[in-house]
């Protein structure tokens, strides 16, 4: 099994991104997803800089994938998505059907991200015919569904599971970070820069429930499937995705590498911001 580092879901300044990817270049990760998937206003790196960074990671032995924006509303965002598909020297991870269509029409292979709803074998087979090489299993589905999907998976398609990180649960037109600062979205003053792992939303009983990340809403808890690595290997899962966080990502990758190699695994709970969960895997509420 391979380990991937998902796209950075937060708005980090350029220096932080570069330092992070220096660490990843030296890590045990096999695949690195680059690019902006949440908000088109986040421009720490432009496309050519992402590509240049990707080449460095390639030189360090990593497979590189470029991811596209998840919620494409404006014509300018659609153009930016097309440019990624046109110019990427790497495989592209399509985050929605627009990118899938554009890539398939160009005759290019592609991967699909966690927000593409592939809930049944017929959907997976259809996309495989169009050039799908790897898919991320949808976050809200269970082990039982994964096992059934693996039974009918087409040849040549790899399965990736989101194994560690705060889960991206929803996308909106509205920016919740701007709203938290009583700012209009059009004049958000890039406040996401102040929250390197989002802003926790708590209930009035002080339970950490969700995490606001611009137009994206995440789980407050960190999904942790390190205990399921052996089971996932049995199910034929090819790739485990670690979602980047500002601290400890290198150690988390190491821990998953140890789990894959059947070596002792350190406790990961202390590396989660506010606790871990694995309810979706067990067919229960995700927060469990």
């Amino acid at each position: 099994m391979k380990i991937s580092v998902g796209p950075v879901l937060y708005y980090w300044p350029e220096d932080q991104l570069r330092a992070f990817y220096d660490e990843i270049a030296a890590s045990a990760a096999d695949i690195v997803y680059l690019g902006e998937t949440v908000c088109s206003k986040r421009r720490s790196l432009n496309l050519s800089q992402w590509i240049e960074l990707g080449r460095k990671l390639q030189d360090a032995g990593k497979e590189v994938v470029l991811s596209t924006l998840t919620l494409i509303e404006a014509a300018s965002e659609q153009s930016a998505m097309r440019r990624i598909c046109d110019d990427s020297p790497f495989l592209v991870e399509a985050s929605e059907q627009g990118a899938i269509d554009y890539l398939a029409q160009a005759g290019k292979h592609f991967a699909s991200g966690p927000s593409v709803n592939i809930y049944n074998p017929r959907s997976l087979q259809l996309l495989a015919k169009l050039g799908l090489k790897r898919w991320v299993f949808p976050l809200e589905l269970s082990r039982k569904t994964l096992a059934a999907m693996q039974q009918e998976r087409p040849d040549g398609v790899e399965t990736e599971v989101f194994a560690w990180g705060r889960m991206p649960l929803a996308y909106a037109a509205r920016c919740f970070t701007a709203r938290a600062h009583d700012l209009p979205k059009d004049d958000c003053q890039l406040r996401c820069l102040d929250y390197s792992q989002g802003q926790v939303l708590r209930t009035r009983e002080d339970e950490a429930f969700l995490c606001l990340n611009g137009i994206q809403t995440q789980s407050a808890k960190t999904c942790n499937l390190i205990g399921e690595v052996a089971d996932m290997r049995e199910l034929g899962v090819d790739v485990l995705r670690i979602s980047p966080q500002p601290r400890h990502t290198g150690r988390i990758i190491q821990a998953f590498r140890a789990a894959i190699d059947d070596e002792p695994v350190p406790a990961l709970e202390p590396m989660a911001a506010v606790g871990t969960c694995d309810g979706y895997w067990r067919g229960e509420a995700g927060m469990q």
Partner: protein
């Protein structure tokens, strides 16, 4: 613009037809549609009756099969498609790629609409569904501004339908997992958001009220405040030092103010949300929107929403409030 109205049961369907709907949309009595609520929706016989009634009055019937089947239950969605095809309905409203692929192969002559649950917000995404499944119309998620709707409609290979009135999803439909994060059941997997079986209202000794979803405190109402249903994105939460509606207020979408712009944008149909609402709701909303669309068609330049329409819609709105939602940039 065609007026597309919701019907959770036969009385609502009749109310929609009698008050001027051009089309009504219904669902079957299971999790194949996104309003899978107890006591709601149509079995075979009811669907037959509904179709006969609507047809005799020149009104179209659409069937929503707009949730996402998994490997162990795909057959139920296939049967729903077959049943709708057997009823000879005017359109199927579909969300899942696999279900669309089946419908296209088994019933190539069927008229397919893309459900809002398919999350298609740009022309390239619409092209995907048009190319592979031959959809003829798409319902756009409630996240686009009027300008963006116009731009999508102008570049879309298919007709565009938008929401005109009803409960408001602040998130892109079909890509929101908040409900399953809290309860294990989501619109995608179960056909309902914040399902009733997980809801608890508790009145406290001081007369205040707590509303919970699977144990998570969604809101707390002081004595005398009206407690709403704990839809999880519409509660008051704490972010930083503030307690407020951090995601969205309990409010309904009302587009009467931008109706001329939507028409000019080339929108072909206006949808009313609310299959879970009462026949009285369907009556009021259908009546008002029919009058508004007729007035708009008669005099596009001089169109102004009437006070009586706005008041009637306000009355049936969530929290008795309405908003232009994402159609207006300031809301975003």
């Amino acid at each position: 613009m065609e007026l597309v109205c919701p019907a959770g049961n036969l009385p609502s369907l009749k109310a929609a037809v009698e008050n001027g709907a051009d089309a009504v949309y219904i669902g079957f009595r299971d999790d194949t549609n996104a309003r899978h609520f107890a006591g709601l929706n149509f079995n075979d016989k009811r669907a037959h009756d509904a179709l006969a009634y609507a047809r005799s009055r020149g009104v179209k019937v659409f069937v929503a099969i707009n949730t996402f089947p998994q490997p162990d239950n795909f057959g139920r969605w296939r049967e729903a498609v077959d049943r709708a095809a057997g009823l000879n309905v005017d359109a199927l409203i579909l969300a899942d790629m696999g279900v669309m692929d089946y419908a296209r192969e088994r019933w190539p002559e069927l008229n397919l609409h893309l459900s809002v649950q398919a999350s298609a917000t740009n022309p390239d995404a619409l092209a995907f569904y048009h190319r592979h499944f031959g959809i003829r119309r798409a319902v756009l998620p409630r996240v686009l501004s009027v300008k963006q709707v116009a731009q999508v409609a102008a570049n879309s290979p298919v007709d565009v339908e938008v929401f005109g009135f009803g409960s408001l999803c602040v998130m892109v439909e079909g890509r929101c997992l908040l409900s399953s994060y809290a309860t294990g059941q989501s619109p995608n997997t179960f056909g309902a958001c914040s399902p009733g079986a997980h809801v608890k209202y508790r009145e406290n000794l001081d007369g205040s009220m707590d509303t919970r979803l699977n144990g998570v405190l969604i809101d707390h109402y002081e004595a005398g405040e009206n407690a709403g249903y704990p839809t999880l994105c519409k509660g008051r939460f704490r972010v930083g030092g503030n307690i407020y509606y951090a995601i969205e207020e309990p409010t309904s979408l009302n587009t009467l103010d931008v109706l001329p712009e939507l028409r000019a944008a080339g929108v072909k149909a206006l949808k009313v949300e609310g299959r879970q609402r009462s026949p009285a709701y369907v009556t009021e909303v259908t009546r008002v929107l029919r009058a508004a669309i007729d007035a708009l068609n008669a005099d596009p330049e001089g169109f102004r929403p009437q006070g009586e329409w706005m008041a009637a819609l306000q009355k049936v709105s969530e929290g008795a409030q309405t908003t232009l939602g994402a159609y207006h940039r300031s809301w975003q």
